[in-house]
Amino acid sequence: MNMPYTIDLPDLLHVEGLSVSYGGETVVQNASFALKKGQALALIGESGSGKSTIAKAVLGLLPETARTAGRISFKDRNLLELSDRVFRPLRGRSIGFVPQDPQNALNPVRTIGAHAHESARLLDLSGRTAERTAIFETLELVGLSEPERIYRSYPHELSGGMLQRVLIGLAVLPRPEVIVADEPTSALDVTIQKRILDLLSRLRSSLDLSLLLITHDLALAAERADSVVVLKGGEVQETGPSSRVFLKPSSDYTRKLQNDVPSLNPFRFRTAERRANAGEGTGDPFIRVQSVSRIFDTGDRQVRAVDDVSFSLQSGRTHALVGESGSGKTTLARLLLGLDTPDSGAITVNGQRVHGRSTSALRDLRRDLQLVYQNPFTSLDPTWKVKSIVREPLDRYAIGSRQERDERVHEAISAVGLSEDLLRRRPAALSGGQRQRVAIARALTLRPKMLVLDEPTSALDVTVQAGIVEALFALQERFGLTYLFVSHDLSLVRQVADTVSVLRHGRLIEQGPVDQIFENPAEPYTRLLLESIPAANAAQSAAAQPGYARLSLVKTA
């Protein structure tokens, strides 16, 4: 199934000196690379690196305001020079597209079948019945077992993973030579992500497709692509076979990226001593969650969002709740904060029960329990200045004099590593990382004992994420904070947490010290989760074997 890498394969798509600009702003600068027939090439970069712009240029989907220079050669033609009328027959037939967010990639008022016929028509079959047969075959090919039912369904009736299979099916149906996949799995749960990537790899070899994979995930690129192009700020940092770039990165940026990817650096932040004592605790736990259940009534049936979950957390430690969507991790965090009431069980913080208190008693308790939200782009009021945002909790709790509050604001803002002149700005003038630091500063001004961090870095780039994690560790050290870390990212959890609870469908699957769970998972589901992480280590060892420059693909069922 794996073809040995040979240098003689012809170039299918050749990008030479591509530049793209909007107005006066250059978003891609002089990018060059070549995609060989039957190969996979990954464009790696963070937001603003220009990777999606390059993908759009290849697909001819750049907005009309874009100015381009350079050449994209495909079948002896420069794609950049083609008018829309000439380009259109290439779309779908020669170049297919798999988008990032499957939930928004299909027209909500049309059935899957209606979409599929748009693709099937490009095969020039005779009649709708022949098209239907081709559609059903393709839906089965992408692993959808009931093609007739899928054909009749509307997009909102399918899950994210199924929609992405449908979209891959729509892309491969007209038998294109190249597929451009723009972050095809970043909106999906980790186990689904692995299945989708496996599917793409399998289709690539069975249909002899070339793949242009756009991703922010270095480990994923190393596992799935033959060669990589690393981009930053619109410029190519380095290009080469993925094993070489991965094992011996030549640019500073790739080295930084490699250093900041959690799955490659599980022990970056926690000291050996801390890891050794991860599971131990002295005295009464700070948080005690005992047999907590929360059931939601959806009319037709009951959903056990949290089902008999217990854990405890010592002061000054970090506990992580991990799970895929629907695992109940966010509901559990809400219960802990007193934002929701459990149907059974009890939660105590510092020996005090969270539920069954008066509103004012709950308010006092919340002073010690602060929340940092997932998305710093929506959790800060855009009309407020940073100073007012950070000071708001102090104003609400009427703490100290005006001057004392201002002092605390300055203290908090420097504690999270921001300079004080940011205080006069509004959120729009801040980067994502700066915004999340502001959100953390806001949570810190009340000097809480504990922070609940709900996916605090999932909206951020890996290099920014590493900075935030570093700041969180420094704060924990300095103020003795206790963290509850909610995340779907297992590699990140391994970096930051002392102990972990693995949740699935509201149930506790397994819990214990992080190293123990990650090295010796007892439960099949935990093993499956761990195997679904893009396998950087497997990639490294495979790359080390002579004769195979292409990294081994994880075997599919």
Partner: protein, 335 residues
């Protein structure tokens, strides 16, 4: 999970709601009229200017139960309203229902042709806003809805009469029910409504063009027209159903003014006469009728919407997708 029975349940509930709202509207109008000092009908009857003799007054008082408490009067009126008896006009001594029925067709013709004008103009504007190349004045065209929104219908009406009746003689205001006169009245009434619909439609079309599924559809090599029709226009047009329902109310209200400008008889002239002669049963009937039309049109919009938007057909939106592939790969576990 059964979509059809869900829908029928929903339809019945909405229908019941609508009946309650219409009855409440009737009650509310009745009470407002009666909150005024004294009882309006008696006041009017006793006004010597109106020249009723005591012999005339007695049967009227008995008919409406005017010597009974207000709530009892309401009950009498409501029980008649339910069976379609709207009372007797005080001025003409004819049944109100007959007066309304004879005035209604002319107003309906005007309002419905205005709606047709509004829809045609709005759809043409919206189509052009997306498909006209910028150099052919697309920008100017996009300003049109906002501009015509700021001109009231009666001004448009006066202009149309001035230009097309007096200057070009395309129609005569002395025969207001002719085809041409009706057409121009419909244009006067429909233009402001078309501007509203066009604004929403253009905004939605722009929004759809930015959706990911629009560019994904483009990547499947669809023609410009297919893209527009299936992936831009179709999802954009759903809110227009609601817009139409709201516009009907506006068209009814606006038709009263337009009718008087174009000299048409209809509900407008009926209500005008009733107000000036304090003919309360007629006022009560027209207000209740307007409320009923509004409620019924909105009911229809609500019932049609789920048929157009598949997302509203399933009750547990997003909660229960078809069973996905099993999360735990049996093979992976066995290893």
């Amino acid at each position: 999970m059964n979509h059809r029975s869900n829908y029928i349940g929903y339809a019945i509930a909405r229908l019941a709601q609508s009946i309650v709202v219409i009855a409440l509207a009737y009650t509310f109008t009745f009470l407002i009229i009666n909150v005024l000092p004294g009882d309006p009908i008696t006041n009017m009857l006793l006004d010597p200017e109106n020249g009723f003799s005591p012999a005339d007054i007695e049967p009227i008082i008995a008919y409406y139960g005017l010597d009974k408490p207000v709530l009892e009067q309401l009950w009498i009126a409501l029980s008649r309203f339910v069976v379609g008896d709207l009372g007797i006009s005080l001025r003409s001594n004819l049944p109100v229902s007959g007066l309304v029925l004879s005035a209604l067709p002319s107003t309906l013709v005007l309002a419905l042709s205005a709606l047709a004008v509004a829809l045609v103009v709005a759809f043409l504007l919206a189509f052009a806003s997306q498909n006209l190349p910028p150099r052919y004045g697309q920008g100017l065209l996009r300003l049109l809805p906002a501009a015509s929104l700021s001109v009231p219908a009666f001004i448009i009406g006066i202009f149309l009469i001035q230009i097309f009746a007096f200057q070009f003689g395309l129609f005569r205001i002395t025969s207001p029910n002719s085809f041409a006169a009706t057409a121009f009245a419909a244009i006067a009434l429909g233009i402001p409504v078309s501007a509203q619909i066009a604004e929403v439609l253009i905004a939605n079309l722009d929004h759809e063009a930015r959706q990911e599924y629009f560019s994904v559809a483009r990547s499947r090599g669809l023609s410009r027209f297919e893209l527009f029709a299936h992936h831009q226009f179709r999802p954009s047009s759903l809110p227009v159903v609601t817009m139409i329902a709201l516009a009907i109310g506006e068209l009814l209200g606006g038709s009263l003014i337009t009718e008087s400008i174009f000299g048409r008889t209809g509900i407008g002239s009926l209500v005008q006469g009733a107000v000036s002669s304090q003919d309360y049963p007629v006022i009560q009937a027209v207000v209740s009728l307007a409320a009923a039309v509004f409620v019924i049109v909105n009911l229809i919009a609500d019932l049609v919407y789920p048929l157009l938007d598949p997302r509203l057909r399933t009750r547990n939106r997003g909660r229960e997708p078809l069973a996905d592939e099993p999360l735990v790969d049996t093979e992976a576990v066995a290893k």
